[in-house]
Amino acid sequence: MNWDFGFIQEYRTEFIDGFFLTLKVSLTALILSLIIGTIIAIFRISSNKALRAFGTSYVEFFRNTPLMVQVFFFYFGLASIGYKLTDFWIGVLGLSIYTAAFIAEIIRAGIQTVPHGQTEAARASGLSFLQTMFHVVLPQAFKLVVPPMCNQFINLVKNSSILSVIAAQDILYVGEQAISEYDPFSVELFVAALYLIITIPLSQGVNLLERRWAKQGTR
């Protein structure tokens, strides 16, 4: 195999910009998907029938359709009815809405492992449903679901490569430009390395958090 990394020099600024676009979209979508996912999870376990139905449909719809279809829907669909979002926000929107469906399920599972007696006790001591959620149930649930959540965040970073199909200049887009002129294997290897720079610290960070919380738990 003839490795040829000459493309790094030629596409240096593009790769730097692409790296930061991927990073920014991923981080924004991560926060947004966590918020949407938590709300949907609360809907899913709420006693209100309409909210529960909405939560269930949301999860089933967005979890069971391809991300690419959803992103194309936002990209071409919103434009056709006159809304013009930037590539950045199309990417953030598509990724958050999609990832939130998975996160909602993880959080719901986490909530359900918190013994029901605690909710009852909290409610009996006068806390409202939301207060019970935010002060008693969710803090415990979040700690339990850290590992599966971490998987979702790593998936989110990798899924952000969907940006390249809407011609947003992320890591993969720049890589594909380089491939048309340079050795594809060298380019793909470099592209993979750039994604690893984001995903490895992410999983290590979450591991650290998990260990710290585990220690606190035993205290």
Partner: protein, 287 residues
């Protein structure tokens, strides 16, 4: 002791087999040299041409009847008919500007007839037939758009396809244009129709096909490049290249080429089609 014996035996078997494999390998390659592409393809029963499925007039999958049609498709049909005597031996595989070279070198397809501009760089990886179409890069915009030429593209978003040279050409002429590369031309055109981008740029032939699909769009601007199309053949298949060249020369001579040209582009084929040419940028044209 027993173990050692086994090991020696195993080792000798492995050596023997690998030696045999080596020599038979050599035999095969000389064989392959002896057997021409024609016999090889007749044995396989299929001649596989890589064509576009998204470029109206050249290679386009008609949503109405799911068949692939166009000028390049007809040329490949004619080639198959004349060379193998049976047009049904032709298999059309979809290629994009991004995938076609890899598919050719991997042997997935025998030739590329897919609006492929001959460039010095591409000549390094594949052989090209004589020129069969001369295109020029232009712009497609919505009718009534203020964009009339390349110089109007400052800060404007211009779509094209990944792997094509169009994006680079445009940047070379107007570096203030914002190039957006989509997976294929159909998506770029859809982005234009959705108002996401301001123009699509590529060869005028492809753009004319889009304008024909939706008359709200028109091709504008002077052609700012000379893009000769050739049929690409893997460097290993010199005899196929020869046959393709002879076929193209023959069809041009006997009028079949002109007939097909007229069928797709509504006018006579240019008389001065060059035999050999490569991409030329003309940044000077009209400012």
């Amino acid at each position: 002791m027993k173990l050692k014996k086994w090991a020696i035996m195993a080792l000798s078997i492995v050596t023997a087999v690998s030696l045999a494999a080596c020599s038979s390998d050599k035999g095969a390659s000389t064989d392959a040299k002896g057997v021409g592409f024609k016999e090889k393809i007749e044995k396989r029963g299929k001649f596989i041409a890589g064509v576009k499925f998204d470029s109206n007039l050249f290679g386009f999958k008609d949503p109405a009847d799911q068949t692939v049609k166009g000028f390049e498709v007809d040329l490949m049909k004619e080639f198959t008919k004349r060379t193998f005597g049976d047009v049904n031996m032709l298999e059309l595989k979809e290629v994009t500007s991004k995938t076609r070279e890899k598919m050719l070198t991997s042997g997935e397809i025998d030739v590329i007839a897919a609006t492929m501009t001959i460039t010095p760089k591409r000549k390094e990886t594949a052989d090209f037939s004589r020129v069969y179409f001369l295109a020029g890069q232009a712009l497609l915009v919505k009718k009534g758009s203020p964009i009339k030429d390349v110089k109007d593209l400052n800060g404007k978003q211009v779509g094209t396809a990944k792997g094509a040279v169009s994006g680079k050409n445009l940047k070379a002429i107007n570096k203030d244009a914002v190039v957006k590369e989509y997976s294929n031309y159909a998506e770029a055109f859809q982005a234009l129709r959705g108002g996401i981008i301001d123009a699509v740029t590529t060869d005028d032939g492809i753009l004319a096909g889009m304008a024909k699909q939706d008359p709200n769009y028109e091709v504008v601007g002077n052609r700012f490049s000379k893009e000769p199309y050739g049929v690409a053949v893997d460097k290993k298949n010199k005899d196929l290249l020869e046959a393709m060249n002879k076929f193209l020369d023959d069809t041009i001579k006997d009028g079949t080429y002109n007939q097909l040209y007229k069928k797709w582009f509504g006018q006579d084929a240019p008389k001065d089609l060059p035999r050999d040419a490569v991409l030329e940028l003309q940044p000077g044209v009209d400012g």
